[in-house]
C-alpha cells in the first residue's frame, strides 16, 4: 500500500497512491493509516484523488481509521473520484465525513475554522 504523509501548517495530509482500496488491501490501508498518523495532528486530510475504486472493505477501513484517531482528532476526506464518491453517497457516509473537492480546499477550510 503506497501512501505518503506530509505536514501542511500543522495539518497532516495523507495521500493514497494506490488506485484501489478494496478487500485485498483494506487491512494494510488501516495499518498504514495508523502508522502515518502516530503524531498528534489534530486534523488529518485523506487525499483520495488517486483512488479510482473503494469497496465496502475499504469504506470500513476508512471508518476504522477515523475511529482510531479518536474524538479529539478529525479525519476529513478530499478529492473523491466518481465511483468512490458514489460509495460514500449511497452508504450516506457523506453525512459522517466532511468531504472536500480538493485537498487545497480542505486546507483552506481548516484555516478558516
Amino acid at each position: 500500500m503506497q501512501m505518503t504523509a506530509s505536514d501542511v501548517d500543522g495539518v497532516l495530509v495523507v495521500t493514497v497512491m494506490d488506485r484501489r482500496i478494496d478487500a485485498a488491501v483494506a487491512v494494510r490501508f488501516k495499518d498504514k493509516m495508523q502508522e502515518l498518523t502516530q503524531q498528534s495532528h489534530e486534523r488529518v486530510i485523506l487525499d483520495l484523488s488517486q483512488v479510482e475504486f473503494l469497496d465496502s472493505s475499504g469504506l470500513g477501513a476508512v471508518v476504522g481509521s477515523m475511529k482510531h484517531l479518536g474524538r479529539e482528532r478529525k479525519l476529513d476526506l478530499a478529492a473523491l473520484t466518481p465511483t468512490v464518491e458514489k460509495v460514500f453517497r449511497i452508504t450516506r457516509m457523506d453525512r459522517v465525513f466532511r468531504i472536500f473537492p480538493s485537498t487545497e480546499m480542505a486546507l483552506e477550510a481548516a484555516a478558516n475554522a
Partner: protein, 167 residues
C-alpha cells in the same frame, strides 16, 4: 438454477425479458475465489462491458456490485484451507445487465442472500460506527433484482441491474 422467471439465470434456456430482447452473452469466465483474482475478474468484466459501449457511470456501479458480490464469495463461501473457484457470467439485454455468479462453496446463511439493511442506526455516534456490513446494502441499493439459489451443491446468485437506454 434460479427459478425466478423474470430473472432467468438460465444458462441453457434464454427466457424472454418481457418481450424486450433476447439476452446476449458477453462474459463467462472462472477464477480462483480470492481477493486478488476478484480484482482481475472485475477488470476483465468491466473491460468487456466498456467495449460494449456502457458509460463510465454504469461501469462504476457494475464495479461496486461485482466487488461486493465476488468478494463475498471469496470471503465466506470457501474455508481458508480449501479454496475453490467462482464463475462470473454476464448477459446483456436492452435495458439491463444480468450477472450470474456461481460457486461450489457453502450455502448462504439460512439459504438466503442477506437483506442488506444499513448497518448504522445513528449517523453521528462516532464510537458506534460499524466498520463492516455495508456490502449487501450497497448491492441492494444499486441493483433492481437479486435472487439466490442453490442446486447440486452449487450456489447461484443472479442479479439484474437496470442500465440507461443509451449507455
Amino acid at each position: 438454477m434460479p427459478d425466478d422467471g423474470s430473472l432467468s439465470g438460465a444458462t441453457t434456456r434464454p427466457v424472454d425479458d418481457r418481450g424486450q430482447s433476447q439476452p446476449k452473452l458477453v462474459f463467462d469466465k472462472s477464477y480462483p475465489a480470492d481477493f486478488r483474482w476478484v480484482r482481475r475478474a472485475i477488470q476483465n468484466a468491466t473491460d468487456e462491458l466498456r467495449a460494449e459501449g456502457l458509460s463510465e457511470e454504469t461501469l462504476g456501479s457494475v464495479e461496486i456490485v461485482l466487488a461486493e458480490a465476488l468478494n463475498n464469495v471469496a470471503e465466506h463461501a470457501y474455508p481458508a484451507d480449501a479454496t475453490g473457484d467462482l464463475r462470473l457470467i454476464i448477459r446483456r439485454r436492452a435495458k439491463a445487465l444480468m450477472f450470474e455468479i456461481r460457486d461450489r462453496g457453502k450455502p448462504m446463511p439460512k439459504g438466503r442472500a442477506p437483506i442488506g439493511n444499513h448497518p448504522m442506526t445513528e449517523f453521528n455516534q462516532h464510537d458506534a460506527m460499524p466498520e463492516g456490513g455495508y456490502g449487501w446494502f450497497l448491492i441492494r441499493e444499486i441493483v433492481s433484482d437479486l435472487v439466490y439459489d442453490r442446486h447440486d451443491d452449487e450456489n447461484f446468485l443472479v442479479i439484474r441491474m437496470a442500465i440507461e437506454n443509451n449507455t
